[in-house]
Symmetry: C2
Subunit: 222 residues, 2 copies
């Protein structure tokens, strides 16, 4: 069986967990505190980051987008990367929007500070980072609203890795209760649709010890 | 003809310029000071970043990796993304190594501070960032050496987008003369090979006004 080294509140790991669930692939989860930099883990991924996917023959694959593209090539159904070059370009543009832009502007400032700061650096969050994360989130929720007013899903007619990547980041921030959903109705309706998919159910049961999720986190009627 | 909105010392734009040159695609370059946030440019890419590729029919594509994958699908020869799923996973892992890890640890600290700081924020570089950039670069040059001791190119037997992405970032840092090549012999031999390719020649003629390149920058025998 495939094995995925992960951390519950890593959006990059969540992306792969959702992709594998959508494709009905069986896998075993192994929690890896990557910040401890275990030599055996660094041998799997010299970048020292989760996710790392171990294939049944023992081959280790690293980097969430490399893994997502690999799974798409091996298991094309259901297609999560579009069927035509321009569709795929739009999906990949939005994947990087969330994995780079949203991550730097929001996820790192909120999840990075509140969760990783506490687990790794044993410090309280930097209040400037928290303020920046809150200040930045609205632009992204507006952009989601803009897209889903024009399209069924973020990148087009079908659910794609763009939606999955966005939901992976937003769900980590939502664990902290830091998303002002009621001010962003279109984004909320989109998130309610993806949140209710069976592929997200295991994520909604995630629990970081000593840090229970916000009340809205697992609620499908938030 | 295709048109590429770019900035000379953007590694993400350089990646696309090299890919198009390797594939012998004709294109016109348009310099875009993305930090000025021209409304007409934001309409092409709401992320406000270069590169943006305009196709002959007027369609705009954004995000360097989305563009690189799109060009690979449209113009598969020569193949720059490998031929098999695991080869491609390794290439994409290394692309993200340079576009995320190297970029955050080195490019942003050196090129970001010295060039963009001056052009955009009209300030001198932050000396802590410069020190961090210099401190971080060795690990990456060692890793390049580690890879090319085992493989012909970074990700395998053939030149790939992994080499192109690495060269795109390194060439921006090299413009500043900030790479201690003589301490990293294997990385230097690899860079000399890619630097001498015709696809890199236009980059070696780049010139940022008021900021001439280091003496070694365009020298093939550095």
């Amino acid at each position: 069986m495939r094995r995925l080294y992960h951390f519950p509140l890593s959006p990059f790991c969540r992306k792969i967990r959702i992709v594998m669930a959508e494709k009905k692939l069986q896998f075993e989860l192994v929690e890896e505190p990557a910040w401890e930099r275990r030599p055996a883990f660094l041998a799997l991924n010299p970048a020292g980051e989760v996710p790392v996917l171990i294939e049944p023959d023992g081959e280790a694959l690293a980097d969430s987008q490399a893994i997502a593209e690999y799974l798409e090539e091996l298991e094309p159904e259901p297609p999560l990367l579009g069927r035509h070059p321009r569709e795929r370009a739009e999906i990949r543009r939005l994947v990087n929007w969330f994995d780079r832009k949203f991550c730097t502007e929001v996820t790192d400032n909120l999840v990075g500070e509140k969760v990783m700061g506490r687990l790794v650096h044993k410090t309280g969050p930097d209040s400037r980072a928290i303020r920046a994360g809150h200040a930045n989130i609205g632009v992204h929720l507006d952009y989601i609203g803009f897209l889903v007013e024009r399209r069924n899903w973020l990148a087009g007619d079908r659910l794609s890795i763009a939606d999955i990547t966005a939901a992976a980041h937003l769900s980590c921030v939502d664990y902290l209760g830091d998303i002002p959903w009621d001010d962003y109705e279109e984004a909320k309706v989109w998130y309610a649709r993806i949140k209710s998919r069976p592929s997200l159910r295991p994520l909604l049961a995630d629990l970081v010890p000593g840090m229970p999720p916000a009340k809205v986190y697992a609620d499908l009627d938030f």
